[in-house]
Assembly symmetry: C2
Homo-oligomer: 230 residues x 2
């Protein structure tokens, strides 16, 4: 069994967990605090990226986008079911664009700032930068959230799945992002019906179940977080 160093509410960690889940593969999870720079962890992972996969032969593969390509190269050829990089090179480029959109851009502009202020800071020491949340940072992240929600809603409303006709890693990347915000009760689903309907489809997949069981010490999830008919 492979080992994944992760954090429960780390968006890129969730993307990788969903991908293994889609292939029906169990992995061992080790929780790593994203704000701690453990020397042993940084030694194998100089960018201090989460998640980090100990792949075949205990070799480290770091970073969600790199791990997704690794998982696809090693799992997809033997998998039953539809490919998660569907279509030809242009369709795969669209899938990769959206993986990057959610995992780099939306995480930096929305998810990571909110998780940092609301979940990491209460657990961090003063030396690590802990303290009360910065309301200005949260206000900016929430304004960005609405832009990303509108974009997700537009994608979900104009295509079967986010990247096109077929379900793909882009849906996993998007669901990883929105699931963290949904845990924190940050998503005004009501006014975004297409995004909500798409997220409900993703949430009801078996690969999603372990994410719905996640809990962090400092914040209980929003009441509808585990509800499949929210």
């Amino acid at each position: 069994m492979l080992t994944l160093f992760h954090y429960p509410l780390s968006q890129p960690s969730r993307l990788v967990r969903l991908a293994f889940g889609e292939y029906g593969e169990d992995i061992a999870l080790v929780e790593e605090k994203p704000w701690a720079r453990r020397p042993e962890f940084v030694a194998v992972n100089p960018a201090n990226l989460l998640p980090l996969l100990l792949a075949e032969g205990e070799q480290a593969v770091a970073g969600a986008e790199v791990i997704i390509e690794y998982v696809d190269e090693t799992r997809a050829p033997l998998a039953r079911g539809e490919p998660l990089f569907p279509g030809g090179p242009l369709e795969r480029a669209e899938t990769r664009r959206l993986i990057q959109w959610f995992t780099a851009k939306m995480n930096a502009e929305v998810v990571h700032p909110l998780v940092r202020e609301r979940i990491f800071k209460p657990q961090m020491t003063a030396d690590e930068g802990g303290g009360s949340p910065d309301t200005r940072v949260m206000r900016t992240a929430r304004a960005n959230l609405l832009l990303h929600l509108r974009y997700t809603n537009w994608l979900a409303g104009s295509r079967n799945w986010l990247a096109g006709d077929n379900r793909s890693y882009a849906d996993l990347a998007g669901a990883a992002a929105w699931s963290v915000l949904d845990y924190m009760g940050e998503v005004p689903w009501g006014e975004h019906a297409a995004a909500k309907e798409w997220y409900a489809r993703m949430k009801s997949r078996p690969s999603f179940r372990p994410l719905l069981a996640d809990r962090v010490r400092t914040l209980v999830p929003a009441s509808h977080y585990t509800d499949l008919d929210f």
Copy 2:
């Protein structure tokens, strides 16, 4: 012929130009100012990423990492010469890790801040955020530069090529980064012999020639920029 929207001293644009160059394929270049958010450009490219490739069928593929995968999927199967994603899945993961290291991390920490302060700002209007360079930003970027130069030097000194035994897209990504800094005369090559020797090897490749001919209006290149024995 495909069209690439690029900027001469944009590091990710250079990575894509090097990749097409390695396949001996000419592409049409259209210069796009990275700080301008041209509505027509943002419409096809919501993240406003450079470079943007108009691929087969005029379909837009945006962002260097996504374009590299597209180029590899469509060009490598028919190419003569060694593959630029060499080896098996773990070797390809190491190549992808370094592409991301240079293109996301080093660009954000070093190259983009220095290019922005020294090259973009003198061309930007006050409304666009132009003005004199921020010396604090430049000082931080230069301190980060030394860390990245030490890391590149370590990689070049302990492996044949940056990602391992064979030349790969990681070398193109690294060379794209260092070439922009070298244009600006920012690299203390003298104390980093392994990095220098590796960069000299990359610089003498035919794919590099168009980059050495690049000039931007507001800054002439360092005197050794085009010198293959610098």
